[in-house]
């Protein structure tokens, strides 16, 4: 698929800032996509059942060893699937990509660390990881600041490194587009895919309940306002599509980081033709 990069609205996310574009003086602001999610789900709702998109996405202010404000995202969706199928996709994709990059399909060498690519990969539960390494339960305490800090400072460096890892079972307040687990409403069916502490991909069993999605967007929009970010216009096209959308699951994978992992690059700068500072 190839959905537009320049759009009139996006999913509200208080922690992801979009570039605003004025296409014509005086006309309403448009945005560079931070992810193709909303328009891809509209295509699913229109009847397609397995789609992917490979292309650039844009996020303001993100720059570091693993971050570029413009990077390449591989995003895919499957109908009548859930997060477990996405995990299987990743287990197939990584050995394949490794082989395509001229490595063995069995393992990659990163930072002097041998990482086996043979499935099954590790599955670490978010709540168990936090209780074990950070000493608190994000299912019991809703503290986004502490969660983000401990995730970067404690959890990610503690993850096993001999094989890729799925971090699964995020607290419900950490997933604005994921379905909640039918067995435990405190847990969202959200999965993150890591290789040696590097976050490669994020996926959900998608929320397809229009009412619940509208409520979550309202909540997230309030958070944006509190942070002084101008809210996006109402996501009417997307809400209307949700009425027609069946159960599905989708994953977004950072392609530059995947290439880093497969080539042993130390920083994301090493896998792009030019960094933002160079062009």
């Amino acid at each position: 698929m190839s959905t537009p990069l320049l759009v009139s609205t996006l999913a509200p996310e208080a922690n992801i800032e979009a570039f605003e574009i004025e296409t014509q003086p005086g006309k309403t602001t448009r945005y560079l996509i931070t992810s193709p999610e909303l328009n891809m789900k509209r295509l699913l709702a229109s009847g397609l059942d397995k789609i992917f998109q490979l292309g650039p996405v844009f996020r303001k202010g993100e720059r570091g060893r693993l971050h570029l404000p413009e990077f390449t995202m591989l995003e895919w969706y499957r109908k009548n699937c859930d997060y477990k199928d996405l995990m299987k996709d990743c287990e197939k994709l990584l050995p394949c990509a490794s082989q395509a990059a001229g490595n063995s399909s069995q393992s990659v060498n990163l930072d002097g660390c041998q990482i086996s690519l043979r499935p099954p990969y590790h599955v670490v539960h978010v709540d168990e990881a936090f209780q074990k390494w950070a000493g608190w339960s994000p299912l019991e305490i809703c503290d986004p600041d502490r969660f983000d800090h401990d995730m970067a400072a404690i959890i990610e460096p503690s993850l096993p490194t001999d094989k890729p890892v799925f971090l699964f079972g995020y607290p419900a307040w950490q997933a604005s587009l994921a379905r909640l687990s039918p067995r435990n409403r405190k847990v969202a069916e959200r999965v993150e895919f890591y290789v040696k502490g590097i976050e490669l991909a994020n996926g959900f069993s998608e929320l397809v309940d229009r009412k619940e999605q509208e409520e979550r967007f309202e909540k997230e929009t309030k958070k944006m306002l509190e942070k002084g970010i101008a809210p996006y216009p109402r996501q009417q096209f997307f809400f209307d599509a949700l009425d027609l959308l069946d159960e599905c699951a989708g994953m977004a994978l950072g392609v530059d980081r995947l290439i880093m992992v497969l080539t042993g690059a130390e920083k994301i700068d090493d896998v792009v033709a030019f960094t933002p500072e160079e062009c």
Binding site: P144, E192, E199
Partner: protein, 187 residues
């Protein structure tokens, strides 16, 4: 004011009313989470390094430091006195602020004094200084082992290790970064 997105290696900012320089900087951000700006910062007064994590929206006051070329005059109970050779203005630094530099500080020596918010906070010596030996044991004849050293006392009262051939009255070139003898400057 700076905000978090200005943070980078080498930036000087004020934290808890003290000037710091960022010596290591890492941007990290879980895809869906908030950005964290993890810094190692060196206190420009004490030299101590600390770790701090900042978030988006945090604001920082730039640490404006000024270096002034001054001449060392003398020390007394109040501390060490220096004079700006252009304005003849005098400032005083405490024993603590001068620190190890006092071992190599000699009357009339020209040094750089670092000012933060108009107050002198530290001193930086020239990389090399020349100081006279005022006390030295005679070298033991026959002891020619390479690398053999003996202690001598400099005119500042500080003792350092030097090669055996150094005598009283010699002027030595000393590297103030390491505090070590470099060579004999002249007799």
């Amino acid at each position: 004011m700076y905000d978090s997105s200005d943070l980078r290696k080498g930036l000087k900012i004020v934290l808890d009313d003290e000037p710091y320089i960022i010596t290591d900087f890492q941007f990290s951000k879980p895809g869906k989470g908030q950005a964290l700006y993890r810094c190692k910062l060196k206190n420009m007064v004490t030299g101590y390094t600390i770790d701090r994590t900042f978030r988006s929206g945090d604001k920082f006051e730039p640490a404006n430091l000024e270096e002034v070329h001054m001449q060392y005059l003398y020390n007394d109970a109040d501390g060490y006195h220096f004079m700006d050779l252009k304005t003849y203005e005098q400032v005083t630094l405490s024993d603590e602020q001068v620190g190890e530099a006092k071992n190599f500080l000699k009357d009339n020596m020209e040094v750089d004094i670092l000012f933060f918010r108009g107050t002198p906070i530290s001193i930086s010596l020239p990389t090399f200084v020349e100081l006279e030996v005022i006390e030295a044991m005679p070298g033991v004849k026959g002891d020619t082992a390479t690398g053999a050293t003996k202690p001598v006392t400099l005119e500042t009262g500080h003792k350092i290790q030097v090669p055996l051939f150094i005598e009283e009255g010699d002027v030595l070139k000393i590297d103030t970064r390491t505090g070590e003898y470099v060579e004999r400057a002249k007799k």
